[in-house]
């Protein structure tokens, strides 16, 4: 391919390379008005401008040369680099549990292309063994790449395919399943799998990383060790998310798939169980339950796989002065279900009422959750709430908004009957609604308070 020798260069930059006949991976001497530069021409990232040429200089650093300053350029050599992860045979150890890693596209383990900085995912058992050799002491690992999509592109098709694949693995006798997933939408997928794969006999553990595994301080390797431990040795047979407990490299949490949420854009300890305690902690030594009412691992091979999803479901985040046409337009565009994320105990302003009435009249299913994330919808407390309920809005107790959205899609994929939809939405599946909120289900401590500071100083964050 002709373009390949100028990887990523475009416009004026590409013209300069062509003019002086210098290729990417060529060793170049560049004369500029600022003086001479020497190095290997590197590929240019797509999103960068066309005004510079990237060189890797002898000391290993990269620099850019402004093409406006270039007076001459000469290729003195050429060395194309080829990178791949070393494949080492993943050792099979008799007596260790069989764990299947299903890949969705998020990279958990990877290595770097040192020249371009590109992250090359490690996925096959051999590659993973090369990157995280400790895995061989935990389980006998096999892998399957189901699809390669970014976390934000995960959707109904992927949820359904995952559920089917999980069902197949369970039938085939696997001891535990790990699902590698980008972290941004992991809690959506965790909810979807909870509804689509009910009563699994083995652990189904979702895992990702908040710091890509090319960095020495990445959480990826430890998360992967924790997840395979939970999947292969743990006794909790539920759909769970396994990520860092504290930001320190100490232990992981196992969160129930219906109560977990990503709560920080970048922290390692971003996943938190909302309105309850996590299921368990996990270290390389094993799983230590926090909750006692988990569903235990079973020897049978039964699981209820229900891969359904109606795509015309929306979630709207109420804000002050929201106009009724927000809801009308959803109805006009054929949406079958709407999750409202209301203020306080579950409210919206009066001008929306007629729009909600119109929606319900057209057969749209409307449910209410809360922006506060913690706590229940209580629509009986104020008149406004009672009005809304009279207009057909159904409160969803303490179901998390994203979980409600996924559940409504899943329910509407199976029935449109108003009473049945309502019944299914309110029938808890693995704690999407809990009957009570424990005292320690809401612990957002605030810094600055002496006793909190004392705690933070003593206990590793």
């Amino acid at each position: 391919m002709a373009d390949d020798i100028f990887q990523g260069y475009k416009g004026a930059g590409l013209e300069v390379l062509k003019k002086f006949n210098v290729r990417v991976w060529g060793q170049a001497e560049v004369e500029t008005t600022r003086g001479p530069f020497q190095g290997t021409v590197l590929p240019r990232a797509d999103q960068d401008d066309d005004r510079h040429i990237v060189l890797k200089i002898a000391t290993g650093y990269n620099i850019g040369v402004d093409i406006a300053t270039i007076t001459a350029m000469r290729e003195t050599g050429y060395k194309k680099a080829n990178y791949k992860i070393p494949e080492k045979q993943f050792p099979v150890t008799p007596g260790l549990p069989a764990v299947k890693l299903l890949g969705t596209g998020g990279t958990i383990a990877s290595r770097l292309d040192y020249r371009t900085g590109a992250v090359i995912p490690a996925f096959t058992p051999g590659e993973l063994y090369g990157a995280v050799p400790e895995l061989a002491d935990i389980c006998n690992l096999t892998t399957e790449k189901l699809f390669a999509v970014f976390s934000e592109n995960m959707g109904p098709e992927q949820y359904k395919a995952l559920a089917v694949a999980i069902g197949r693995e369970i039938e085939n006798g696997i001891d535990g399943i790990v699902i590698g997933h980008g972290t941004d939408t992991m809690h959506y997928t965790a909810a979807a799998l909870t509804f689509m794969v009910q009563d699994p006999p083995v652990p189904i553990v979702m895992v990702g990383s908040q710091r890509s595994s090319d960095r020495p301080s990445s959480d990826a390797a430890l998360n992967l060790m924790h997840a395979t431990t939970a999947a292969g040795h743990g006794g909790i047979a539920e759909v769970m998310v396994c990520m860092f407990g504290p930001t320190s490299d100490e232990y992981g949490f196992l969160h129930r798939g219906t109560r977990v949420r990503k709560m920080h854009s970048s922290y390692r300890s971003t996943f938190r169980t909302i309105g309850d305690t996590p299921l368990a902690t996990v270290t390389r030594a094993g799983v230590k339950p926090i909750k006692q009412d988990f569903k235990p691992r079973r020897r049978d091979r039964k699981a209820v796989i229900r891969p359904f999803f109606e795509e015309k479901v929306a979630m709207i985040y109420y804000y002050t002065n929201m106009q009724p046409d927000m809801i009308d337009s959803l109805v006009e565009h054929g949406y079958k279900g709407i999750i409202i994320i209301g203020t306080g105990l579950g409210h919206v302003n009066k001008p929306l009422y007629p729009a909600i009435e119109r929606a319900v009249a057209k057969g749209v299913h409307v449910f209410m959750t809360v922006q506060t994330l913690w706590g229940y919808v209580h629509m009986f407390v104020y008149d406004t709430g009672r009005d809304l309920m009279a207009k057909g809005v159904v409160p969803l107790e303490n179901m998390l908004p994203e979980v409600a959205y996924i559940k409504l899609g899943w329910v509407l994929g199976q029935t449109r009957d108003r009473d049945e939809v309502r019944r299914m939405m309110l029938a808890p599946i693995n704690d999407d609604i809990t009957p009570r909120e424990p005292y320690n289900g809401y612990l957002v401590y605030q810094g600055g308070v002496p006793e909190v500071e004392e705690f933070v100083r003593k206990v590793h964050k």
């Binding site: 850019g64 900085g117 490299d249 100490e250």
Partner: protein
């Protein structure tokens, strides 16, 4: 049996064989014979309000135990280009260190501990770096690329340092000629270590992330004094901008040294340039000594690949060992392992540095790699053995050594024994190859100890969290006018003025040239007088008195200006300066009062001369003619100071 090695005699003999001479007796011929080569990496913190990649304040420090929270990380090696772990990576992984970071809310945010991606690069820091790069005659890059440089020792919580090249290929002028610069980079500073004990290394994060530049020279320096000269030049150059931090730790350098046939060894974090000559001198000889050891070993062990030490666990009770040291170790639950090193007789006590022998190379690695706290070993050639001769004999019996072998015993917790044994074997094998690639920690006595394995080349890769920053010509031209004159030109100017050379170091360290130049050109004072007021008087005052943060060198300018405006004789400045230094807020009139200055007319002072002459002539006993003017000056000095030029007065007394 051959005669047992006498450690002290062997140490002396090998020192002579290596040809070691103290630095005072070394000259260029000495260094040429060794093939002395040295280059520098000079680090300098920049004076910015905030850190490089986050908005935390820069330059605020905490005590080692002053922290709000701790977090723990482990550094995991990432695979290198060829799919192998590089040397440092493997070593750091072997050590299985638990890294503890102490965080103080005031000085570190979630960025420092790698829980937030970087914010855009600090532009103030970038512009200072460009200014210094221009001053260093470096070629400024067209686009700044943030690069990650891996560090697995934990000194940076991400496991890499964000760093970027600002300029390449420059030079600085030294006495002997120019020294070439490879590059100047802008980077984030690392953590300060609190402690490193066993498997726990603790850092504080206050300094972490502060903007720093690193100037790297080619290995152009041919003797230890040149290395220091180059280092001083670069530091003075940095300071001449007035935009860098000063004080302890604000400037540090890594010094690379090799001898002919040796390896580039990096002496890390030398905080005083005065230490450089002794350190580089000793390091060059250490490498020369290691090559001598290599020669001797190869003569004895023809096939190094087949060389293999043997080892055995020491059984204190079963073998009836009596040394209190051994019994104490056993009580602490430590494991002891005895190792036989075939062909190593004489090598363990072989000279490497003043006061150190080859066995110290092993002990240093046992500490760092296997986490065995020192003292961690004893050996058959120790000058002061920890184990009795009888016990040694019993231990050797188990090892069944041959003539020409050496033995050592090391001890530590069970879980570190395997790594320790590998470490001993690995270092001994390296002795057959010569000088290992490593970084070494400087000691105040001019010697060094093992610090880390030198990281491989494959530890640099682009920072995917940052976009490249274009540096257009227009941007550089905006900075160019603020670039100060070159340090070499300033040297030349002071020479031309006749300012004594002993003033220069102080003047450049404090970046006083600009204020001196202003006093001379704007106020018209004589340059020698101004130069010595700063380079001698002020230096003396600084060494003997305390000041407050209100004192600035600009206040000294103000003092000169005041003296000129008041029409006072310049000498009074030397008397006023100590008061100004200690009480920078005091106004000049009050300073004059505090030194008992009274305005007296010139005529009035001169009118006293005939009377004094009369007086001394009537009383003197000596015939020495120089006594008279001296005595008169003494009588008049206090009232004359500031009112009349003392030189002129003295001439008037002699001739008038």
């Amino acid at each position: 049996m051959k005669q047992p090695i006498d450690p002290i005699a062997n140490y002396e003999a090998t020192r002579r064989a290596v040809g070691y001479v103290p630095r005072a007796r070394a000259d260029q011929a000495t260094y040429d014979a060794l093939g002395f080569m040295s280059g520098l990496e000079v680090h300098q913190q920049l004076l910015t309000g905030q850190k490089l990649f986050c908005r935390c304040p820069a330059g605020i420090y905490q005590g080692p135990d002053d922290y709000d929270a701790e977090i723990i990380r482990h550094m995991r090696p990432t695979l290198s280009e060829l799919g192998e772990y590089d040397g440092t990576a493997l070593m750091e992984f072997k050590t299985r260190k638990q890294i503890v970071y102490r965080i103080k809310s005031r000085t570190a945010c979630t960025y420092e501990v790698d829980d937030t991606p970087p914010f855009p690069l600090n532009r103030q820091a970038l512009d200072i770096a460009i200014e210094i790069a221009l001053l260093s005659r470096l070629k400024i890059v067209g686009e700044v690329h943030i690069t990650r440089k891996q560090y697995l020792d934990g000194s940076i919580p991400t496991g890499f340092q964000r760093t970027a090249i600002i300029g390449v290929e420059g030079e600085i002028p030294l006495k002997r000629g120019p020294v070439r610069l490879i590059q100047l980079s802008l980077e984030e500073d690392s953590c300060r270590e609190v402690s490193d004990i066993g498997h726990v290394r603790t850092y504080r994060t206050d300094r972490l992330g502060m903007p720093l530049i690193e100037t790297v020279t080619y290995p152009d320096m041919k003797n230890p004094d040149e290395v220091r000269e180059a280092c001083d030049y670069i530091r003075f150059l940095n300071r001449s901008t007035g935009k860098v931090r000063t004080g302890i730790g604000a400037g540090r350098q890594d010094v690379n040294v090799s001898c002919r046939g040796g390896t580039r060894v990096e002496i890390k974090g030398v905080s005083h340039t005065a230490w450089i000559p002794e350190l580089t001198h000793n390091e060059c000889f250490r490498q020369w000594a290691l090559l001598e050891i290599r020669r001797e070993l190869l003569a004895r062990v023809p096939d190094p690949a087949a060389w293999k030490p043997s080892s055995v666990r020491v059984r204190v009770l079963t073998w009836g060992l009596r040394s209190p040291a051994l019994r104490a170790l056993r009580e602490r639950g430590q494991i002891m392992v005895a190792v036989n090193l075939p062909g190593f007789a004489g090598a363990l006590s072989h000279f490497t540095q003043p006061g150190q022998c080859f066995a110290d190379e092993l002990a240093g690695r046992l500490k760092v790699i296997a986490c065995l706290e020192r003292p961690n070993m004893d050996h058959s050639e120790a000058a002061v053995p920890a184990i009795s001769a009888g016990d040694w004999a019993r231990i050797k019996q188990e090892l069944t050594p041959s003539d020409g072998d050496a033995q050592l015993v090391f001890w530590g917790p069970e879980e570190d024994i395997k790594t320790a044994l590998e470490t001993v074997e690995e270092r001994c094998r390296m002795a057959f190859a010569g000088v290992p690639n490593e970084t070494r920690q400087p000691l105040a006595d001019g010697t060094t100890v093992f610090e880390r394995v030198l990281p491989g080349a494959d530890r640099m890769y682009p920072d995917t969290d940052s976009k490249p920053i274009p540096l257009e010509d227009a941007h550089i031209e905006r900075i160019r006018p603020s670039v100060p004159t070159e340090v070499s030109a300033r040297y030349q100017q002071m020479k031309t003025w006749g300012v004594p050379e002993n003033c220069y170091a102080y003047i450049f360290t404090r970046n006083l040239f600009p204020v001196i130049e202003r006093v001379v050109s704007e106020l018209g004072f004589g340059p020698v007088f101004v130069g010595t007021v700063f380079g001698q008087t002020l230096k003396h005052i600084e060494g003997h008195h305390q000041t407050t943060p209100d004192f600035t060198y600009n206040k000294v300018y103000g003092l000169f200006k005041y003296v000129k405006e008041q029409g006072l004789a310049p000498e009074i400045i030397r008397a006023m300066l100590p008061v100004l230094y200690q009480h920078p807020k005091m106004d000049f009139e009050s300073i004059l009062t505090s030194i008992n200055f009274k305005r007296v007319a010139e005529d009035e002072i001169l009118s006293k001369v005939p009377f004094l002459k009369e007086k001394i002539r009537s009383t003197r006993v000596s015939t020495d003619p120089s006594i008279e003017p001296h005595w008169i000056m003494g009588q008049l000095r206090t009232s004359a100071l500031g009112n009349i030029g003392l030189t002129g007065l003295s001439k008037t007394i002699e001739h008038g």
